[in-house]
């Protein structure tokens, strides 16, 4: 660190002292502690729903005070309103399986007119059956559709002819699915294993908050609940889209399985960020009630949560809006999952922690 100027070094020294003080619970007039002093001030004032600005001699932090925690039952209700119908559809009618899971009919065709892949895709998508299109080069395509009866096959062939001109139908073949059962089973097993591992990890990582291992378990359990919330919400919405509304975008395929796992990763990531702030604030500001600490932590991480989700949502909306037909369901699944992941961290995981603490007080 020989290249650092003097005042930077001084700053570093100060921060370390500050950190030590914080660990001992002493709130001296150190710069590090000052940050918390102000926010604590902001949080201890009564919590109106509207914005307020806390005054401070040094700087004026603009911390919006929104009371997240006390309206928790509304948030829980809101989540359940989506999840329960979703679970109902899942149990009652299952999912709409994509071609790669359920199998279907495979047409091998050759168009002398050599239409582009996009043209063929559009013509196929226009038909009720829908399907995927693979180019074999030089006007040749393999088109996979859901299972078709001979009559439906005829209609499909006619519609293709209307859309793209005459073609040479080389072969029609019924194809089975790839191992769907095994894929879903293994995916489910790995989600369960990952959930258990995450519960153990968080219990271990959060054992140092007041309340010890049991408090750690509350953190882990709440994060797990948020994770399950996201998984069930996503799969439920897709069950509703696929079976309830009979939409192609609600099809379950191997990409959807990937989307669910992505959401698992994101959800936990997001929850840990909020929980980490709670962990820190519990240590630093001991005169706040648990509820106030949780609310303060949500406010402090709110900007970050919104920015991060916003950047991911941006990419997904771009794909959803302009991306290819085959990827729309995938992009939609990720979009729902990411929004749900952010929502559940703020509105479910943290409030749930408060509820749990009330039922099982540890301080």
């Amino acid at each position: 660190m020989s290249d650092q100027p003097e005042d930077a070094k001084a700053g570093k020294l100060r921060t370390e002292e500050a950190a030590e003080d914080e660990l001992e619970g002493a709130e001296e007039e150190q710069p590090g502690a000052a940050a918390h002093e102000e926010l604590v001030e902001a949080a201890t004032q009564e919590m109106p729903a509207v914005a307020a600005v806390a005054e401070s001699p040094i700087a004026q932090p603009r911390v919006r005070k929104i009371d997240f925690v006390s309206r928790r039952n509304w948030y829980f209700l809101f989540s359940l309103l989506i999840i329960i119908p979703g679970i109902f559809y899942m149990v009652h009618s299952g999912f709409r399986l994509g071609i790669d899971f359920a199998g279907g009919t495979e047409f091998t065709v050759n168009f002398p007119g050599k239409p582009t892949q996009a043209q063929v895709e559009n013509a196929v998508a226009a038909d009720i059956a829908g399907g995927s299109v693979i180019s074999t080069g030089n006007g040749g395509y393999i088109i996979r559709t859901p299972p078709l009866t001979p009559a439906q096959q005829k209609t499909f062939e006619d519609q293709l002819r209307t859309g793209l001109g005459t073609y040479d139908l080389q072969q029609v073949l019924e194809v089975g699915g790839t191992i769907a059962g095994e894929t879903i089973e293994l995916a489910l097993l790995s989600v369960v294993l990952a959930a258990v591992a995450i519960l153990v990890l968080l219990t271990f990582r959060f054992r140092n908050v007041p309340g010890g291992w049991r408090a750690g378990f509350q953190f882990g359990g709440s994060a797990l609940a948020a994770l399950l919330h996201d998984v069930f919400l996503l799969t439920g919405v897709f069950a509703i889209l696929g079976k309830g509304f009979d939409l192609r975008i609600g099809e379950i395929n191997s990409l959807f399985v990937t989307a669910v796992l992505t959401v698992v990763g994101f959800s936990v990531h997001d929850t840990i960020v909020v929980f980490d702030r709670i962990r820190e604030n519990l240590r630093v500001s001991q005169r706040l009630s648990f509820e106030q600490v949780v609310n303060l932590s949500i406010m402090q991480t709110l900007v970050r949560s919104i920015i991060t989700s916003f950047t991911v949502v941006l990419v997904l909306v771009a794909i959803l809006a302009s991306g290819g037909e085959t990827l729309k369901g995938f992009a939609l699944a990720l979009l729902i999952g990411i929004v749900s992941g952010t929502y559940s961290s703020i509105f479910n995981a943290a409030p749930l922690l408060v509820v749990w603490r009330r039922l099982q007080p540890l301080r």
Binding site: Q4, P31, E38, T136, L186, S254, T258, L261, H269
Partner: protein, 504 residues
């Protein structure tokens, strides 16, 4: 965090950077210089880095591959066609796995269960056909004296054909032995096979009478019966060469057999058994000796015997080079959309966080370069699921930076000087970044080991991505910030994206 800002760490980062630039660039330079195609495997192009051609290996869904359609003929009588088709698919999967192809798609097809389609990425049609279509022939041999033999399992003896082959077996099934503990493999012969096998075992027992388990002299070479894959007369002729005999006598290797040339020597032994008694009923049991087989070993052996000869004949109906299963247009559009999204993220970071945002974007470039280099060297086969894993790890890298920068703003508001605030921000954001990334890595490990095929690719790219995103967001961004802040003219609030600062 002091360690992170030390010169050895910086040198390491520069080292990783140079390595990635070399790996990312070397392949392209070589290809341009020699007028080869810029992407994909080039037949005839020599490996140019540690035995590998460097390029992005893309999966079926992104780049397409070879689509082969087989017709199944000569169904064995008396078995359901669906079962036979399923067994054939299992055999083909086993063979395809020896090719090291990631995520092959093998489907049963045809209303009559008489078709199988195979989609493979990254191998030529010739290679694929050779391996899948290879008809490994199961051969039974006895052992006859030959004084000149010094190698192999039975010195002084060489194998001799018995006329019994895989065609004479109707099925091999792993089962729990009724009498002893452990697993065995039950073999059923056809009527011709039953006769041949009966004669063979009778002759074997006559070769040295007694119970081989208790009497050592009864366990003579003449009493051994050995099953091979593809053993030829040429192999037997070369048995007097000990190296040759030893090599062939090893556990069979279908990969070697599939790509064998007339001069190559492949391991071919499937099982070597001592005949306990004459077996006349047309059913034989292979047990694993004293302790029996494990369930796995018995299953493998049964599959091996069944795999040795496909239950049906495979006739190639068509071989086609096919485009991406997601549709080339679709993939292109989505990649363009993804790039647009990433560009907007970079612009947003620079506008919102100013100099730190710009430095974080530089760190992201470093990150992308390093991850791509790893993808090429490993090599990781990129599928859409894999790319999703990569994008998620980009998201986590950006998130780590956002966490630090938001914290930085808070610390500045609380009255720290800019350099002190940077330091505090990194230190305070670290536990959240650490814990969330550890949880992601644990998830990746579980998915990588337990998850189904398509998910493994996701787990691998996400795992690699998370490791490098940690390096990028904590080490690279922090170092760049420290270096930039060493010059006092960068310590202006407007450049750092904060409102006001206590006088430094």
């Amino acid at each position: 965090m002091q360690l992170v800002l030390s010169w050895p760490v910086r040198l390491l980062i520069v080292g990783i950077l140079l390595f990635s630039l070399f790996v990312d660039g070397a392949g392209y330079v070589y290809r341009i210089a020699n007028h080869y195609s810029l992407t994909g495997s080039v037949p005839g192009l020599p490996p140019n880095f540690g035995g590998w051609q460097l390029y992005f290996h893309k999966g079926l869904d992104l780049a397409g591959g070879t689509h082969i359609e087989y017709r199944l003929t000569n169904f064995p009588p008396g078995q359901s066609r669906a079962t036979v088709q399923q067994r054939t698919i299992t055999v083909i999967s086993k063979r395809v796995n020896t090719l090291g192809v990631s995520e092959p798609e093998i489907r049963g097809a045809g209303s009559n269960n008489d078709r199988i389609t195979v989609d493979l990425a990254g191998v030529t049609a010739d290679q694929a056909q050779k391996v899948i279509g290879a008809v490994n022939k199961l051969v039974y041999t006895k052992w006859v004296p030959d004084a000149k033999v010094t190698g192999g399992p039975q010195p002084g003896y060489k194998p001799a054909f018995t006329g019994l082959t895989g065609d004479d077996i109707s099925s091999a099934v792993a089962a729990i032995d009724q009498q002893s503990v452990g697993w065995v493999v039950n073999i059923s012969f056809t009527s011709r096979g039953a006769d041949l096998f009966g004669n063979l075992t009778t002759a074997n027992v006559a070769a040295c009478p007694g119970d081989p388990n208790t009497t050592a002299s009864a366990n003579c070479a003449g009493r051994h019966l050995t099953i091979w894959l593809d053993l030829t007369q040429n192999d037997i002729d070369n048995w007097e060469d000990p190296t040759y005999a030893n090599k062939v006598s090893q556990e069979y290797d279908t990969g070697c057999l599939a790509t064998a040339t007339p001069t190559s020597i492949c391991p071919k032994k499937l099982v070597d058994a001592v005949t306990l008694q004459a077996i006349l009923g047309g059913n034989a049991v292979i047990n694993g000796g004293g302790g029996g087989f494990t369930q796995q070993a018995a299953n493998d052996l049964a599959t091996g015997i069944n795999a040795g000869s496909l239950p049906v004949d495979l006739q190639v109906l068509s071989v086609q080079q096919v485009g991406s299963t997601l549709g080339a247009e679709s993939v292109k559009l989505s990649i363009a959309a993804g790039l647009l999204g990433l560009t907007i993220i970079v612009i947003f970071m620079i506008v919102y966080y100013r100099v730190p945002g710009f430095l974080a974007s530089l760190a992201l470039l470093f990150y992308a370069g390093a991850v791509f280099a790893v993808f090429k060297v490993v090599p990781v086969t990129l599928t859409l699921a894999g790319i999703t894993g990569f994008i998620l790890s980009v998201g986590m890298a950006v998130d780590a930076n956002v966490l630090i920068f938001e914290r930085f703003k808070e610390e500045v508001r609380a009255g720290r000087t800019i350099p002190a605030a940077v330091d505090a921000a990194v230190r305070r954001a670290w536990p959240a970044i650490r814990d969330s990334n550890i949880s992601t890595l644990i998830t990746c490990t579980i998915l990588g080991f337990v998850g189904p095929g398509p998910v493994k690719g996701f787990a691998i790219t996400l795992g690699i991505g998370v490791v490098f995103s940690l390096i990028s967001s904590i080490v690279v961004t922090h170092n760049l910030l420290a270096i930039v802040l060493a010059g006092s003219r960068f310590r202006r609030p407007v450049l750092m994206g904060v409102d006001r600062v206590r006088s430094t």
